[in-house]
């Protein structure tokens, strides 16, 4: 299956619309107990979910547990998805991200070792020589769009989205005045959105 394209800020291509509609349909049918539809949803989205969860939680065993929990919650609460409020994929990934962040924060007291974020495992390109491991065209487009952010915006997004840190923690880690990290995060997302939309 080709990599899923998220609905971008420009008009969606027919392919994007088709994928989005298919997922929404799978979710609606899952809400009625359709296990086959749910299996389709799982197969279409599990790599995206698990990859994000794994990046946030890092420990593979815990990541597998959380991925499982996420999909169980998707199954249980599929009826809460409201198509008028955004795509099925956005609903699902928002749920997944939140559970991953909740899990990693619960473990903070004991096992958090991310004290130095200058590890090689940075997800977002911090300079132009960063290796692009992702083969998909979409991922390459996202990486080059990210280069249009300032390095502070990129780092703030990295720490918040992939690191699971609160915006006040991000401000401390990046040595920013209190309260400015949340602006950097917001501005970074808007710039990313615009950079991707402009490239249609």
């Amino acid at each position: 299956m080709s990599s899923l394209q998220p609905v971008s800020s420009g008009d969606p291509s027919p392919e994007e619309t088709g994928v989005a509609a298919h997922l929404a349909g799978c979710l609606r049918r899952s809400a009625r107990g359709d296990e086959q539809a749910f299996a389709e949803l799982y197969d279409a989205t599990s790599a995206r979910v698990h990859g994000l969860v794994l990046r946030v939680i890092r420990d593979p065993a815990q990541a597998e547990e959380v991925t499982q929990e996420v999909f169980l919650q998707v199954w249980r609460t599929a009826a809460r998805f409201d198509e008028a409020k955004g795509s099925a994929l956005a609903w699902l990934m928002t749920l997944a991200h939140r559970r991953a962040v909740d899990r990693v924060r619960a473990a903070v007291a004991v096992t958090r070792q991310d004290t130095s974020y200058h590890q090689n495992s940075q997800t977002l390109p911090h300079d132009s020589t960063a290796e692009a491991v992702e083969a998909s065209m979409e991922a390459r487009r996202v990486r080059s769009a990210l280069l249009e952010l300032t390095s502070v915006q990129r780092e703030a997004l990295e720490l918040a989205y992939f690191g699971g840190y609160t915006h006040t923690e991000v401000a401390t880690m990046l040595d920013l005045p209190v309260g400015t990290a949340k602006t950097r995060i917001r501005d970074g997302l808007i710039r990313l959105r615009d950079a991707m939309g402009a490239g249609q």
Partner: protein, 244 residues
């Protein structure tokens, strides 16, 4: 924080970068601010671009486990979810909605697990949890000398709380137990304290809980915690295996 300032949290909210308190306050704000709702949705959509970068397929064992799990769990009925969208999602409203559906003959599914077990089978469940090969224990010691151990067996799917030397709950109050699921504290039983040892089989499936808590609530319990927990259990921490 002023009303003006709270809008500024939308970006951090969209990437889950708020602490629990800020998140709760911002969600209250979202209920009444359409502009922030729109912004949050747009920004959450944008985060999909970030998850483009990190795809990793899980092992097939995860798929097998998920497909097995969903056979044991019923989805929330669509009719109920539609009602929820127009009313704040509180337990009292959900139960009232289920009653309405029942009266109309809609065959409503009871959302919360009704305690149909008699005391004998509850005792059986407690024993099964404590004797299970995969049982995990988390312990909390109180300054008063009291202690509480939460035990969970995934194979049994239930959790048990054993409290020792807990002083009685204040008059008109009760200890309430909670399981943490999906970011929410879900009611999981009541306990009085005052005994040398109290054992409670916690309500509901414990397998999708990420933690548990104990609070002091008005007699009869609450639909969500109204006080700061006196104990919190975090299932993400390595459990201590101990003889009870």
């Amino acid at each position: 924080m002023t009303t003006h300032e709270i809008h500024a949290l939308a970006g951090a909210y969209a990437v889950d970068a708020l602490d629990d308190l800020e998140r709760a306050r911002f969600e209250e704000h979202l209920a009444v601010c359409a502009e922030c709702r729109t912004e949050v949705l747009s920004l959450q959509d944008t985060t999909l671009l970030l998850s483009d970068l990190t795809s990793v397929a899980p092992p097939s064992s995860v798929r097998d486990q998920v497909m097995a799990d969903i056979k044991k769990v019923r989805p929330i009925p669509p009719a109920l979810a539609r009602i929820e969208r127009h009313r704040p999602r509180r337990w009292t409203n959900l139960i009232a909605a289920a009653a309405v559906l029942g009266v109309l003959g809609g065959g409503a599914v009871v959302i919360q697990q009704v305690r149909e077990d008699d005391s004998t089978s509850q005792q059986d469940q407690v024993s099964r949890v404590l004797a299970a090969a995969d049982v995990q224990h988390w312990n909390v010691d109180f300054r008063s000398g009291a202690s509480a151990t939460l035990s969970r067996s995934v194979s049994v799917g239930r959790a048990v709380l054993v409290a020792r030397s807990m002083s009685p709950a204040p008059s008109g109050k009760v200890y309430q137990l909670w399981l943490r699921k999906g970011g929410e504290m879900v009611p999981a039983g009541l306990m009085n304290g005052g005994a040398q040892q109290s054992t409670v089989l916690m309500d509901g499936n414990a397998n999708d809980a990420t933690g548990a808590g104990i609070t002091v609530e008005p007699a009869g319990g609450s639909t969500s915690p109204t006080t700061t927990p006196i104990a919190l259990f975090d299932f993400a921490q390595t459990s201590a295996v101990r003889d009870l």
